[in-house]
């Protein structure tokens, strides 16, 4: 009888200790996240975080965040600094056929019902910039009567129901708990089924690495408390990023204060990039 009681007491103590341990771990993680946030803000202007080897960041807890992205097309001026920043930050192949983010231009000319659409990857625009590595929109409509025109930045939508993840035969691409769709480049077999499945054309195949790539909202940066490179480079604040769990974050305010819309909602993918200022021709 005594023995049984002793065992019971031991068990209770073990349980208690385990609980205490769990709480301590949570507390230390929270503290670490807080510090990371502070350090992150301080380091925000200090160059590419991609060079650092701590990926993913060891003390980052992906269950605590719900990242989202906003695009205010009314603000975009088509300067393409975002594209350049992305290419540099993520070592994207410097061609006109590989982009993690790009900008589209929609121009309605007088008397025309449908917009003329191009991106900086268009041969005319490349000719104007003189190189695939220089990003520019040629002034190709200067002699035309433009009725309406706007720019639309594009990037991976990190969909709630990502078709790219659904079709990956080996599970190399997956949705992180914080909402970002990631690719394990050590595991990707390079079949490109995901490239076909993405209705937004957000994925491309890196021929040199033999794997698929796409925008990860600069996962190596955001997990350190930094902003994605494109957001940081945008001079007009057309790109908004943040944590939806934080009700006062820029993205939460952006979604709350605007009538936002998503691209190709009919696909059922439920994108997590929220747009304002686009019209029905944008897909």
């Amino acid at each position: 009888m005594k023995k049984r009681e002793a065992i019971g007491a031991l068990r209770a103590r073990r349980l208690f200790l385990r609980r205490i341990g769990g709480a301590a771990a949570v507390a230390s993680a929270a503290a670490a996240a807080g510090t990371a946030g502070l350090v992150g803000k301080a380091a925000a202007k200090s160059g590419a975080a991609a060079a650092e080897k701590s990926f993913p960041t060891p003390d980052y807890d992906w269950t605590k965040r719900q990242w989202a992205f906003g695009v205010d097309a009314t603000k975009c001026i088509g300067c393409l600094r975002c594209v350049e920043a992305c290419k540099v930050e993520n070592e994207v192949p410097l061609t006109a056929h590989h982009f993690r983010t790009w900008v589209e231009r929609y121009v309605y000319l007088e008397g025309e019902n449908r917009p003329r659409v191009d991106s900086h990857a268009d041969p005319v625009n490349i000719a104007a910039s003189g190189s695939e590595r220089e990003y520019r929109f040629a002034n190709r409509y200067q002699d035309a009567k433009v009725e309406k025109a706007f720019f639309v930045p594009k990037l991976c939508n990190q969909c709630e129901h990502p078709p790219c993840v659904q079709v990956c035969p080996v599970g190399a691409t997956y949705k992180a708990k914080d909402g970002v769709v990631l690719i394990d480049h050590e595991y990707c077999i390079g079949c490109r089924y995901c490239v076909q499945a993405c209705p937004y054309g957000a994925r491309f195949f890196n021929e040199e690495k033999g794997v698929t790539e796409k925008c990860t909202w600069c996962y190596h940066r955001i997990t350190k408390g930094l902003q994605p490179a494109c957001v940081e480079a945008c001079p007009v604040g057309a790109r908004v990023f943040g944590d939806r769990n934080d009700k006062q974050s820029p993205i939460s305010l952006f979604i709350r204060n605007n009538r936002v819309q998503a691209l190709k909602p009919e696909t059922g993918n439920e994108p997590n990039v929220y747009y304002i200022g686009i019209d029905k021709a944008v897909s």
Binding site: H97, V117, D118, V167, Q196, A197, G201, K209, G210, G268
Partner: protein, 391 residues
């Protein structure tokens, strides 16, 4: 040296990343070969399971053809992968929501099934050769007997039972394998040209006609080479089979196209521009008119007139060649065609076909020809024609 990437010229508005057409002619060849496997197996099953006695002369040839092409099914995929050395990940850690993850299992299961069925079908021959031959070939056949030399009537009855049940199991196996290929395309909602519930069926029926057509050509060709008379009853049986299945295949493909046009969802303008422009000849003229409707009418005419003899042989063989071309074009028009229509619904691309390289035209043609070369070798070791007596 070949450049690493070839960019697709385009008109209209396409997403920048779309200018590399990712699924090349190798991915056209992949469903083509898989289809031939399924089609040839259908012929074998028509005899083994459904008792179509007319097809007896080609039943074993069908089995060997199916097996030879099955050996090469994974090859175009391996050539295509960015990391072929990781291909086994597909089997080891399959992602169950992916249609493609099923490939490894379907293919492995089916290869085992085909090997087993072929072994049972050729067992009497193997035993006979093992006892007759000496030297390396003798050892080869003795190894293949797997220690079983019993060819008594009772043992053969057991063999026949195995063949029957394997053939029954093989029908969903072969058709599942190919139906799944159709699902790989049909289940993608990103492309209007692919996204169709009918796609698996379209793939399946075109697969059947391609396999039967291939057997017609192989049977006639092998008979000519071996200078043996062609069994006209068998040839007619094959012709009827193609005829019946072309009807279904045409109907399904017609329905699919009609659905796209009639539903007229977003992007249909671009599809109409595409089919009436760059796709006019490969789709309407070659795939439909010359590859499917012409052989259908020709076969109908021959059936109606009771054509026989050399005219029948020539007519059926030529029709079969046209069907083989039509099905290849169907694969091309689906795989390449789907990617030539931009996901924006506002532009068209042009696939830059390469001649050289691991995903070029030559490699792909070699992939289609290679199973035939292997078949030539295998028919020397396991003659599908001399073996009929054992059945």
């Amino acid at each position: 040296m070949e450049p690493l990437i070839h960019y697709a010229p385009y008109t209209g508005w396409v997403y920048p990343n779309e200018t590399v057409i990712e699924w090349s002619v190798a991915i056209v060849v992949y469903p083509y070969i898989t289809g031939l496997v399924a089609g040839a197996f259908t012929v074998s099953s028509l005899y083994q399971v459904f008792g179509f006695e007319r097809l007896k002369p080609v039943a074993h040839l069908a089995l060997l053809t199916s097996l030879c092409f099955m050996f090469f099914v994974p090859l175009p995929l391996l050539l295509h992968l960015g990391h072929p050395e990781r291909a086994l990940n597909n089997l080891l850690t399959p992602h169950w929501t992916s249609a493609m993850a099923m490939f490894g299992y379907f293919a492995s299961f089916y290869i085992v099934l085909l090997l087993l069925e072929t072994w049972f079908a050729f067992r009497p021959y193997i035993v006979e050769q093992a006892q007759k031959r000496n030297g390396l070939l003798g050892t080869f056949y003795r190894l293949l007997t797997l220690g079983s030399y019993d060819v008594s009537e009772q043992a053969l009855r057991v063999d026949r039972k195995w063949i029957f049940w394997l053939a029954i199991l093989g029908i969903p196996g072969a058709h599942g394998l190919h139906g799944y290929v159709g699902f790989v395309f049909g289940s993608l909602k990103a492309r209007e040209w692919w996204s169709s519930d009918l796609m698996p069926l379209v793939f399946l029926f075109s697969a059947i006609i391609s396999g039967v057509a291939l057997l017609i050509v192989l049977y006639v060709l092998s008979s000519k080479l071996r200078k043996t008379p062609i069994d006209l009853g068998c040839l007619k049986g094959l012709a009827y089979t193609v005829w019946a299945f072309i009807m279904v295949a045409l109907l399904l493909e017609g329905l699919e196209f009609a659905n796209i046009v009639y539903k007229g969802r977003e992007g249909v303008d671009m599809i109409m521009q595409y089919v009436s422009g760059p796709l006019l000849i490969p789709y309407f003229v070659l795939q439909f008119a010359i590859g499917a409707i012409l052989p259908l009418l020709w076969l109908s005419y021959m059936i109606w007139r009771g054509t026989t003899g050399k005219a029948l042989i020539a007519g059926v063989t030529l029709s079969a060649c046209l069907v083989l071309l039509s099905v290849f074009l169907m694969r091309w028009n689906v795989v390449i065609g789907g990617q030539e229509i931009s996901k924006t619904g506002k532009g068209l691309l042009e696939y830059p076909l390469q001649i050289l390289g691991k995903e070029g035209l030559l490699a792909s043609l070699a992939l289609v020809a290679a199973p035939l070369v292997v078949l030539l070798g295998i028919t020397r070791l396991f003659p599908p024609w001399e073996h009929q007596a054992a059945q």
